[in-house]
């Protein structure tokens, strides 16, 4: 895993937004990167929050996994870089 730059956050920071969007606690959900195959919990993914939304990247290959943009009160969710995203149960 490459070290994150100073101002980069992790999936914990978007926990509230994810519950809002998915209806469930998602920081422990496991995602698989479509480019390099790395799997990991959302809490440990690299989260970037430029002015216009949230970008979640793979820690290993930098691939954009998820993009969230709010447009006129509606959040657009793009899970382009994931091949899977699964809640952990039990």
């Amino acid at each position: 895993m490459r070290p994150l730059e100073d101002d980069v956050l992790d999936g914990n920071a978007i926990g509230g937004m994810l519950i809002d969007l998915f209806g469930a606690e998602m920081t422990t959900a496991v995602g698989a990167c479509g480019r390099c195959g790395t799997t990991g919990q959302v809490a440990e993914m690299a989260v970037y929050q430029p002015k216009l939304g949230t970008v979640v990247r793979c820690r290993v290959c930098d691939n954009v996994l998820m993009v969230f943009v709010e447009v006129r009160g509606v959040t657009c969710v793009d899970l382009r870089g994931l091949t899977s995203l699964a809640e952990v149960t039990g």
């Binding site: 994150l4 730059e5 101002d7 920071a13 509230g16 809490a43």
Partner: protein, 251 residues
């Protein structure tokens, strides 16, 4: 959306400020009265939403500083360039209201009733990263747990240590090790540098059984360094939980 009753959804609620307490010249703890608070776990956070008169909204996340069962409290560090923290640490008064939603987070949580409930804890805090770890310590005390704990707390100086009197009078089985990175009091014999591999090797529980659990919280560069140090000592990555606060309040 007005109060959705959809299961699994978090709704914004109005919280009333109960009391405020200055922990350091730039850090304040705010205790809240939240009518429909469902309870929380040690390590979770809540989101705060402030709306200005012109409708402008700002949202921030703050770790919950209190243990499960105690009144909800957050500890906020004032950032000079901040939009929200100056208001929360200087203007907000008891009786004022704010919108919050929570509790949030299932990853950075200490659950003593789980299968890892007896694991020794290695807590590593950088600056305000101590907040969720303090909730864990308070929870440990309240339930009478005897799990051994070491807290490695990196702060700029003693004056910047949050919860200092509480940490200096910690319960049996809890060791607090400070590293003061910018300024040390006269006669200081403790650590005086940023956390590094050598320091972590001296402080962290050995990896041998019983397998310890680590929680690392604070500015991103602190978390990256401390977590890497623990993994280099043999801590399995899945036993090192991390929560990064970005570039704020760097020790």
């Amino acid at each position: 959306m007005a109060g959705t009753a959809v299961r699994g959804r978090l709704t914004w609620q109005t919280a009333t400020v109960g009391a405020v307490m200055d922990e350091t010249p730039s850090v304040r703890t705010i205790s809240l009265s939240v009518p429909d608070w469902p309870g929380h776990q040690a390590g979770q956070h809540l989101d705060v939403r402030l709306t200005a008169d012109d409708g402008y909204r700002a949202e921030r996340s703050y770790s919950i500083a209190s243990a499960p069962g105690e009144p909800v409290a957050i500890t906020v560090e004032r950032l000079d360039e901040g939009e929200v923290s100056p208001y929360l640490t200087q203007d907000l008064q008891p009786g004022d209201e704010m919108e919050i939603r929570g509790p949030i987070g299932g990853y950075f949580v200490w659950d003593p009733t789980g299968s890892d409930g007896a694991a020794p804890l290695l807590l590593a805090a950088g600056g305000s990263g101590v907040v969720p770890l303090r909730a864990m310590l308070r929870h440990r005390s309240r339930i009478g747990s005897s799990v051994p704990v070491r807290l490695l707390y990196s702060a700029r100086s003693l004056a910047d240590v949050i919860y200092r009197s509480e940490l200096d009078h910690e319960a049996d089985g809890v060791q607090v090790i400070y590293t003061l990175t910018r300024q040390q009091p006269p006669g200081w014999t403790g650590y005086a540098r940023r956390v590094d591999q050598q320091m972590m090797a001296e402080v962290a529980w050995p990896v041998a059984s019983p397998a310890p659990l680590a929680y690392v919280c604070g500015p991103t560069n602190f978390v990256e360094a401390a977590a890497a140090d623990l993994v280099a000592l043999g801590y399995p990555p899945q036993r090192v939980k991390t929560e990064r606060f970005g570039a704020t309040g760097t020790p």
